[in-house]
Symmetry: C2
Subunit: 473 residues, 2 copies
Amino acid sequence: MNHPFPAPDALGRPLPASLAEQLRQRFGDRFSTAQAVRDHHGRDESPFPLVAPDAVVFAHTTEEVQAVVGACREHHFPLIPYGVGSSIEGHLLAVRGGISVDLSQMNKVLAVHAEDLTATVQAGVTRKQLNDELRTSGLFFPIDPGADASLGGMTATRASGTNAVRYGTMRENVLALTVVTADGKVVRTAGRARKSSAGYDLTRLFVGSEGTLGVITEVTVRLYPQPEAISAAVVNFPTAKAAVDAVIQTIQLGVPIARSEFLDAATIRAINAHSHTTLREAPTLFFEFHGTESGVQEQAATVQAITRDLGGQDFEWATRPEDRTRLWNARHHAYFACLQARPGSRAISTDTCVPISRLADSIEGARRILDAASFPSMIFGHVGDGNFHAVLMIKPEDEAEMQEGERLNADIVRLALSMDGTCTGEHGIGLHKMDFLLEEAGDDAVDLMRRIKRALDPDDIMNPGKILRPAAS
Amino acid sequence: MNHPFPAPDALGRPLPASLAEQLRQRFGDRFSTAQAVRDHHGRDESPFPLVAPDAVVFAHTTEEVQAVVGACREHHFPLIPYGVGSSIEGHLLAVRGGISVDLSQMNKVLAVHAEDLTATVQAGVTRKQLNDELRTSGLFFPIDPGADASLGGMTATRASGTNAVRYGTMRENVLALTVVTADGKVVRTAGRARKSSAGYDLTRLFVGSEGTLGVITEVTVRLYPQPEAISAAVVNFPTAKAAVDAVIQTIQLGVPIARSEFLDAATIRAINAHSHTTLREAPTLFFEFHGTESGVQEQAATVQAITRDLGGQDFEWATRPEDRTRLWNARHHAYFACLQARPGSRAISTDTCVPISRLADSIEGARRILDAASFPSMIFGHVGDGNFHAVLMIKPEDEAEMQEGERLNADIVRLALSMDGTCTGEHGIGLHKMDFLLEEAGDDAVDLMRRIKRALDPDDIMNPGKILRPAAS
């Protein structure tokens, strides 16, 4: 089948028997070549077809990861770190074969230094688990992609979420990493100081490296005091443009909003069906305000005034914790709600991010591009950052639909690039956006990335075939 | 002389005549081998002895920098980017000879996108110049090292300053860079979107690279709306520990203070003499609060309550803009005030940064270490970040004093490293801290840095001999 998604590049070779033996001896039951286990590790939330790894190892410690890397290195055989499988650009697919290193059992919170506002966790700890363990500390960790992703995976994709407008992304919130490098060394990239000018920023190099430079085994993150007061609000708008303009004005005024999410009418409809909510099916903003009691009231009053001027209506408060939880759960499930709205579909999710002043143009442009589509689509996202997702619900087995989806996706990306934006605000490149990366960054910047990859992973065993297409020779 | 500072490593070779000719033809008067010009470019604010470059080029455009890099590359001859010369770890010294590329005439603000809260400037624009040009826009750029440094230099050293506790450092505030790479390519590292997951974080790799990976020629930074209300306050404490504890509690409570600077009694004395102020000569905190009128009042009330509990007294407001300007100018001149306090001295400035809970121990430890010194010293710094400077006022021509200073400096660094801190919060490694970097990061992490350096600058022409000592063969 002439699949519009990149096919496995068939450079893989069979699992060497001596490597399998070595890993079986070391890991026993935690080494598996069972088809079901391999299949489970051979796809993510993207519409890519399954490409299973040759085997799966369930690691428990950094030293065990080191052992896997050492064995793979001896055999020049690829490995692919695996968290919870929630990436959506094909990051996990074993396009050149390899060992999937499942880190989900590395799920210990190693240290909470409440007095320093930091925590150190094993890579398999998920964001919800961390916040559950922080509950009595008065602190929280703000980064919240839709899925309950692992901290290792979130680091590897430079993830963000609904709180990024106030608290930043993984880029700003990772203080230090423990990484197993391609030559099997264990490197800690930094200490726990809030800032440092000590040499090249290895931490930031591994944040967003998608497993291609090393395996992240421990993550030290910044924490924040739980705000004294929180309130959330929902407000409807006559048009998507009016909603987005309200956010743009809020950002430009410097109101320190914690969250501001846009959802179009179609998304709200899907959410109502999925989460049994009764939200009005109109272009909508969800806001959240963090601060002192009076600070929150002040922010809310400012935002309410802005939204009113732009035709916002039904400004509705969610002050009780359970109402806020319901609201944000509904938002976090938007992606799955969309999928459910067209049974049997998978989603191509765009992830463009543009300078804030271009956001309304960018969303309206995406809507125009999608109006011609033969399949349904929805738009929602983290508009306070200039980031939104158009979710294109295609049937992966329908080749024409897949190709159409990819074409429209490309049009939306190119529109963002023409606005000095990026093809991906938070999902990463994976398999799917390697050509967009080239368009966005240019040959010379991608050449720098390629040189870094070669310098740190000369045998190309670390999640090969992702981020960077092999250079034309 | 058996100088305790690393001596020029004498690997330099004479300026090739054909390189000089090539640059003279292209740059005319803007190429100089005059001794006075070379000497001016051969030292910074450190106590290092002068090591002049072989020639100086005054560049006006990215293309001109590209021409210099191209010529140097052909001749395998080093080059060293130069901003205003305010670095303090010997970053600019031509220890292997080379061409100093003076970027101070690249001083155009290229674009202010007020609606996106971004500005793009040439690398030679200084922080004060940028803020002067922003004055009518309602926006400002917060990063403020003591000197009126260039944005290119601030990027290269990953600088911060008094506002970092609220607004972050250059790491968080640079959105994109234009860089001339060692092979003479012009690379733009990112677009202007607030966040991106598009491949390796080249922007963060060049932030803090100290001219060793390429020449930064343009910088795109984040801007912030000028706060509706600002107020500053000065408060004295019975002990340094009480002052630092007040800051620690403020941070732990999540009060969004914009600035919190500690100055010991000796620093205040030096400032009073230098800036003709009449501050009480006691351990002191300077605070600044940004927000709405009521938000600022609320923050100040919280901080006042914390300081009162810790014995803080004489809490004094500086609400008029001119009073605040006087206060922060005095703070920015602290380094020079210290130098003036001992005529003929130069300073070894420590720059450790530790997790916030260890800050009081770290400062008290530094004070104990310095109590034994035969020369005067002062302590001040950005305590909200866990970062402070002990300024050791030594006479550089007194070898015993220099060696003593270096020994005490090393003791202070090792104390910070034992607390999971860093040897440098904001000044960088330069020539002076290459051994500390190794102690802090470890051989394997420094090896990764070395591989990155080799991958991006295989001929080692970009500010060679800084950050990384040549690997032992």
